[in-house]
């Protein structure tokens, strides 16, 4: 069957202190050797099999230590997939597993498709025949979910940027292709100079995307969190406090405009994506700004709500609206302004939101912030709130594809610079185009030929 080596995160993110990255295939041990520095052994291949080795994952490119791990390798055929398997046990949460998976992919593995370990296990005879249907279910169900997530994630600016890049590549391809297939036409086909300029532009753009959206240390994903509260209740102070104390990691994709922006913040190792409206700090009222319907839609897509109430005044109609919205999702309630005279107490909220943790805070004195952060952490590690696994998987996949596209365009550029023949340049360009297409889910078809006939007046 497929001889390529696959890798994936084997554990659900966030639910445990340990995360596992699994690699299966012929090159599993070789990849392990490249990225693992042991305490007792220098190479993974020196280890006994089925023996847990202590050491570090090190990015061979930068020499950076990524995480302290336990690593084990199991020799084929006595493994789950019947292939060589390497498993890396690292710190749980997201950052570590994700970074390790990225490095594994950079060093020769391919991202496993949905259900692929199980598929291999079955095709290689490891799983009993009676399980065949279950395997099929797994493949089709997982694919459906990740497909949806993938599309959701790509909605909007990012997908647009990749489409634009892909079109650029297509244009280059069409130029080359048209000049090859219709050599006698007096059309203006691309020169090496033009190919070089276009190629450099594409490379630059891909690099920018990698540096921002998919940078290794930056999390694009996180608990999607919405802060709700009536005007002047202290939402902006909360945001500012959290952002100040926990360095804001990323803002947004450069060069795009949306009326909702996202703040990424890492609280006690838990990535939070705080969904913010462009004006939240000015008008201080998300509902007023975007309307109840859109607020609801936003809440639907979120993982967590932080609802803020003013302890120094009675609950208003607006507050009741917010309580209702908060009841749809996992939420944390902050009773703010406790440094002033309290008019309401936690019992008043508890009546409406019985399962919600309520914290007394003061943004002025900083009371309760520590409790809020610990609450978040607890909820995350007990699995009460979680990030959708597929979001992470897809981000790693997209980054991997983008890295490949970058390599392709670099190869094409070096072919252009040494003025190699068009038939060779085309090979790398086509790969670049396909890799970008896999991110946006567009597949190859007649696109190229359509483009040729659309742009050039050719034919006999």
């Amino acid at each position: 069957m497929d001889m390529n080596t696959i890798a994936a995160i084997a554990t659900a993110p966030g639910e445990a202190g340990i995360g596992i990255v699994r690699i299966s295939g012929k090159r599993a041990v070789e990849i392990g050797d490249k990225i693992f520095k042991g305490k007792r052994i220098s190479k993974l291949s020196d280890s006994k099999q089925r023996y847990l080795n202590y050491g570090y994952i090190v990015d061979p490119k930068s020499g950076e230590k990524i995480d302290e791990v336990l690593i084990v390798y199991m020799k084929e055929p006595y493994t789950y997939t019947t292939e060589d398997i390497v498993e890396i046990n690292c710190h749980g949460g997201i950052i570590s597993v994700r970074r390790i998976l990225e490095i594994v992919l950079e060093n020769g593995a391919t991202m496993a498709e949905a259900g692929e370990f199980t598929k291999r296990a079955f095709l290689n005879g490891r799983i009993d025949l009676s399980q065949a249907e279950a395997v099929i279910d797994l493949i089709s169900a997982k694919t459906d979910i990740s497909f949806n997530v993938s599309l959701n994630q790509l909605e909007g600016s990012l997908s647009k940027e990749i489409s634009v890049l892909r079109n650029k590549v297509l244009e280059m391809l069409a130029h080359i292709q048209a000049s090859i297939d219709f050599p006698e036409h007096d059309e203006e086909y691309a020169t090496y100079q033009q190919l070089k300029e276009n190629g450099e532009y594409i490379l630059l753009k891909i690099q920018q995307l990698l540096d921002t959206v998919y940078a290794g240390k930056i999390l694009r994903e996180g608990l999607k969190t919405v802060i709700l509260g009536k005007p002047n209740v202290g939402k902006s102070s909360l945001l500012n406090r959290v952002l100040r104390e926990n360095r804001s990691i990323v803002t947004d994709i450069p060069g795009t405009t949306r009326d909702i922006i996202e703040e990424y913040v890492n609280i006690k190792g838990i990535p939070l994506k705080i969904v913010d409206t462009a004006g939240i700090r000015e008008t201080d009222d998300i509902i007023e700004r975007i309307g109840v319907d859109r607020a609801k839609a936003l809440i639907d897509k979120s993982d967590l709500i932080i609802a803020v109430f003013d302890a120094s005044s009675n609950l208003t109609k607006e507050d009741m609206e917010i309580i209702k919205l908060a009841s749809y999702k996992k939420s944390i309630v902050l009773l703010n302004k406790t440094d002033l005279n309290n008019k309401i107490c936690s019992q008043d909220i508890k009546k409406h939101l019985p399962d919600t943790k309520i914290i007394n805070t003061s943004m002025i004195t900083g009371t309760g912030i520590e409790i809020l952060e610990n609450t978040l952490k607890d909820m995350f590690f007990t699995g009460e709130i979680k990030i959708k696994e597929d979001v992470i998987v897809n981000n790693v996949r997209h980054r991997d594809q983008l890295l490949k596209a970058k390599e392709n365009i670099e190869d094409a550029l070096s072919a252009v610079i040494s003025e190699l023949s068009y038939d060779l340049i085309e090979v790398d360009l086509k790969n670049c185009w396909e890799n970008l297409g896999q991110i946006t889910g567009e597949t190859i078809g007649e696109d190229l030929i359509d483009k040729i006939f659309q742009d050039f007046c050719i034919g006999k």
Partner: protein
């Protein structure tokens, strides 16, 4: 149809209907494989007729001709015999896309092919219009001609070209007719439909032919042929011939004005022709309308042969009325006094949906009935011939109870052509282009013999002489590659100064010739000074050696992709498979697979609407079935 009385006219192994480019290859292939073959044509004066452009080959198409030749076909040999100009295109763009094209002497091409058919031992060539075919229990048993002859055979290959209910359009005038003033075939379509074979209408067009003496060539650019002629056939070496030039001129704004003013008289624009035409062969109306910012379009004036003064006006295909045609041509430089001998016309014809065929080109529902050429929705002489030879081979293999010959996408352009047609179908007359081919660095026109002659020989088509010639070439290449990696050149002053002369950096340590050839500025030929022991090798061998060394990295990468590709191609799917019971396939995939009945998982993956996860589901299902079966066998 009312016809004459049916009489028994004889028994054959293979009957080929139509003697165009696909019919000729089909009949010759089956005859050479030992099958008693009948080939029928509407007119014996139109065997291997070239009713459109007077050229064979070109980008992608040149590859097809070389492949047909490598398998043991006739097209390459026949054009080598009858060409009047030859050119290798794309020589600056890399060996993978070098494409050979030759201007043909049309009449000689046709007569010469007719003579070959007449002389071939197992071929019977007859004039006659086929009006029906006979089917018993979904198996073909023979055909009937308009004059009542019944010929019996277990296999029939339909190569009807553009003849089926052909209709000619010139301006406001239209009438039933075949190409080049010939008669259409008006009856066979009905018969196809009776057997549930649906037809659709495609169209194509051809420009006017003009009289040589009415052209002022001094106002045009002359386009000569190549000095060194590369033959199409691997059996030919060192062809020399006096060549005839082509000429280049341009349309201008005056031409475009006349066209725009008369658009309403072009049936394509008035909606009188609704059929689909090829995009790569746009009419001049189309070009002027769609690319209105262009002030001129190229026109190539090409000779149609040595014994005729007719010349072909490439670039000016049109459905404008006769009167407008002459006006518009006379605006072109060099054509001020031009006389039209034949008007430009469009032809509309019936063709079938090729997805109803297997990759062997046999119909999925009617056993023994094969289709090849333009009737399958392709266009071009070369595309037709390529299908013809495969249909001829597979009809013969079927009669010999052997597995059909399927060339896949990694083996040949022919494989790409047929797979595209039968797997993806086509919405316009399909033309081969190098961009359709995924593995074109390995599928070059220069190595078609190395790729295919062994296959042609093993099915009994490529003759022994051809096979041995290829083996000698292959061994020569292997030996030389080995020698080049073994011979190490020592970096003496003499050697380094020679390298410097060639613009290459000096060597520091002994280096093999193989490594040296890899340097972009060096070549096999220019290293002869420091490679004194080399034998004088055949040109073909030198070319292969150089390409294999220079492009090794790219070729290796492609070979890996081909390996991946072959894995899915190797997973066969039974045509009895009921996709509706496979849980986990998406609805669209289920329907498409049920309709198409692909032959392998690889082919299934190329059907539009079948996703990668559907393919995974299929793989698991196949493994489940395989294990169930082997369990069942154990139980027995």
């Amino acid at each position: 149809m009312k016809g004459s009385q049916i009489y028994d006219a004889g028994n054959f192994d293979v009957i080929v209907v139509g003697a165009g480019h696909s019919g000729c290859e089909a009949a010759l292939a089956s005859a050479r494989m030992g099958m008693n073959s009948l080939i029928l044509t509407m007119s014996l004066d139109s065997v291997a007729l070239m009713p459109c452009n007077p050229a064979i080959g070109g980008t992608g198409k040149g590859h097809l001709v070389r492949e047909i030749d490598a398998l043991g076909g006739e097209m390459g040999k026949n054009i080598d015999k009858t060409f009047i100009q030859s050119r290798m295109l794309n020589t600056s763009k890399g060996p993978a896309v070098h494409s050979l094209r030759a201007q043909a002497d049309k009449n000689k091409y046709s007569y010469s092919m007719k003579e070959i058919l007449e002389s071939e031992k197992n071929v019977t060539l007859k004039q006659g219009e086929v009006t029906g075919f006979l089917v018993k229990e979904r198996k073909v048993t023979g055909i009937i001609t308009r004059t009542g002859a019944r010929f019996n055979a277990k296999t029939v290959i339909l190569c009807t070209g553009t003849y089926l209910r052909g209709k000619i359009y010139i301006g406001e005038v239209n009438y039933w007719g075949g190409p080049n003033g010939l008669s259409p075939a008006m009856y066979l379509t009905e018969h196809l439909e009776e057997y549930g074979i649906k037809v659709r209408r495609f169209k194509t067009g051809t420009p006017a032919r003009i009289h040589m003496d009415s052209i002022n060539f001094s106002k045009m650019d002359i386009q000569p042929g190549d000095k060194d002629i590369v033959p199409f056939s691997f059996m030919n070496e060192n062809l020399t011939k006096d060549q005839v030039p082509c000429y280049l001129t341009y349309t201008n704004l005056e031409t475009h004005k006349i066209i725009m003013n008369n658009l309403s008289r072009s049936p394509m624009y008035t909606g009188h022709m609704e059929s689909t035409g090829p995009r790569y062969c746009p009419s001049i109306e189309d070009k002027v309308v769609r690319f209105s910012d262009k002030n001129r379009h190229q026109i190539f004036v090409e000779p149609e042969g040595l014994d005729t003064k007719e010349m072909y006006v490439q670039g000016m295909s049109t459905t404008l009325p006769s009167e407008v045609q002459i006006k518009m041509l006379r605006t072109v430089e060099g054509l001020e006094n031009v006389e039209i001998m034949r008007e430009a016309y469009a032809i509309e014809y019936d063709c079938i949906d090729p997805t109803t065929l297997k990759r062997s080109l046999e119909h999925k529902e009617i056993e023994g009935l094969f289709f090849a050429g333009q009737v399958n929705g392709s266009s071009g002489y070369e595309e037709a011939a390529a299908q013809g030879i495969i249909a001829g081979i597979n009809a013969s293999l079927k009669l010999q109870n052997k597995e059909p010959l399927i060339l896949d996408r990694s083996q040949a352009y022919i494989g790409v052509l047929i797979d595209d047609l039968v797997t993806k179908g086509t919405n316009e007359p399909y033309r081969m282009m190098t961009s359709r081919c995924e593995y074109r660095l390995t599928l070059r026109q220069d190595n078609a013999d190395l790729r295919l002659t062994e296959i042609g020989h093993s099915v009994g088509l490529a003759a022994k002489k051809r096979y041995e010639k290829m083996i000698t070439k292959r061994e020569g290449i292997e030996k030389e590659l080995e020698r080049l990696s073994n011979v190490k050149i020592t970096p003496t002053d003499e050697v380094n100064s020679y390298l410097k002369e060639l613009g290459s950096s000096p060597m520091k340590k002994p280096t093999s010739l193989y490594e040296l050839i890899k340097r972009p500025e060096l070549s096999y030929d220019n290293l002869h000074t420091i490679d004194k022991d080399r034998d004088n090798l055949l040109k073909d061998v030198k070319i292969q050696v150089e390409i294999q060394i220079k492009y090794e990295g790219y070729i290796d990468k492609q070979m890996k992709q081909i390996e991946q590709f072959k894995k899915l191609e190797g997973k066969k799917l039974s045509k009895k498979l009921d996709y509706s019971i496979i849980k986990g396939l998406r609805l669209e995939a289920r329907q498409k697979l049920d309709k198409m009945k692909p032959e392998s998982v690889g082919q299934a993956s190329r059907i539009s609407g079948v996703s990668p996860s559907d393919i995974n589901v299929l793989l698991v299902y196949l493994e489940q079935q395989r294990r169930l079966k082997s369990r069942g066998e154990k139980d027995d």
